[in-house]
């Protein structure tokens, strides 16, 4: 994580992000935060020790990405350090978060957790590529470290899926069907995406990346012997999450869990 935050600290002074750039980075940070936090609920519950360690290590990486992204926004608002990150990560009202329902979804079933890991990380890798040449230097600076980790995450997801698509194809098929209503929400664009693209925060639109993502996940399914059509039939316009300002049904209690200890004494030093 130190590696991740070092990049964001390169600037030394607030970047003065535009509202659109802030929205763009928060959408990414909140997705990373939520998916990382959801993944961590599997600590000690993974199907076997080795997988448990790997899955929770990936969760920790995602939380590291979230910290790095929140730091970019916090420093631009003159709120450097942990307090600035805590404010963004924990202390906003639910409707101020910008996460997708795919990242927020509980996935209390292991098959769902694995499918979400594969869908989300395939998307995440595309998103890091799209900000590699960002005009926000603090954002571009954290990309190489994140990409190195993401390479491992997508490899792990593909390896595990390849195994379980052979041994538990029916369960995986069911999990994909269950996640279908939220799968595409990761491609709901950040608020005011057009303005962010115009100023070069990212070099590709979410709509473009979604097409690549669809091709990638369908190719994976075919490779693993499952019907590619499993992930079709539901475009972004049919999602229950209509935009990133809307929280999923289970968000509020989950958010309360996340801030429960922090709220006891917000000034405590850990």
């Amino acid at each position: 994580m130190a590696e991740m935050t070092d990049g964001a600290a390169l600037s030394g002074k607030p970047a003065g992000l535009s509202p659109a750039a802030t929205e763009y980075i928060l959408a990414f940070a909140d997705d990373e935060h939520m998916v990382g936090a959801r993944h961590t609920t599997w600590i000690g519950l993974g199907p076997f020790l080795e997988e448990d360690l790997a899955f929770c290590s990936i969760a920790q990486d995602e939380l590291g990405h979230a910290i790095a992204l929140y730091t970019v926004v916090a420093e631009s608002e003159g709120a450097a350090g942990e307090a600035g990150v805590d404010q963004l990560a924990l202390l906003r009202a639910p409707d101020a978060y910008r996460s997708s329902w795919l990242a927020e979804w509980p996935c209390n079933d292991w098959a769902q957790a694995v499918v979400r890991h594969w869908l989300y990380d395939t998307a995440e890798a595309l998103r890091w590529d799209a900000v590699a040449a960002s005009t926000v230097p603090q954002l571009a600076a954290i990309v190489p470290g994140a990409q190195r980790e993401e390479q491992f995450h997508t490899r792990h997801a593909a390896q595990f899926m390849a195994q379980v698509c052979t041994t538990a194809a029916a369960q995986i098929g069911t999990a994909i069907q269950e996640l279908l209503p939220v799968a595409h929400t990761v491609w709901l664009p950040p608020v005011d995406e057009a303005a962010a693209l115009a100023e070069g925060v990212a070099t590709r639109s979410f709509a473009e990346m979604e097409q690549d993502w669809q091709a990638l996940v369908e190719a994976d399914l075919s490779k693993w012997g499952l019907p590619a059509a499993l992930l079709r039939g539901q475009s972004a316009s049919e999602q229950r999450q209509t935009d990133r300002t809307v929280r999923s049904p289970g968000f509020t209690p989950f958010h309360q869990d996340l801030v429960e200890v922090f709220s006891i004494d917000p000034a405590a030093v850990w």
Partner: protein, 97 residues
């Protein structure tokens, strides 16, 4: 699942050392899991995995007969004691030699 033995080597001249073992369905997943289980805190710069099934292991009984051959152990103490005694004798003799 297969059992793999994990060996790690730090940067520099250190040798590979046994770090532990793990279970994985194939070589590639074993590498993935070993990275997390044994090297996530930069414990090594290089890593080898060996399937336990590929290890040629000796019968402990064959090694047991070598446990009691004290005559094969030379830690230099006999020679050292002899030299010490010679020095003491020389000193006692007045050092005229």
């Amino acid at each position: 699942m297969r059992v793999y033995e994990v060996f790690l080597k730090r940067a520099g001249k250190e040798e590979f050392r046994h770090a532990g073992a793990l279970e994985a369905p194939d070589d590639q997943m074993a590498l993935t899991y070993a990275r997390e289980a044994y090297a996530r805190r930069s414990e090594g710069a290089q890593m080898w995995l060996v399937q336990r099934a590929n290890i040629v292991a000796a019968d402990p009984a064959d090694l047991a007969t070598n446990q009691t051959k004290s005559h094969r152990h030379n830690d230099g103490s006999v020679i050292a004691a002899r030299r010490k005694q010679k020095r003491a004798e020389a000193k006692a003799g007045g050092g005229n030699d």
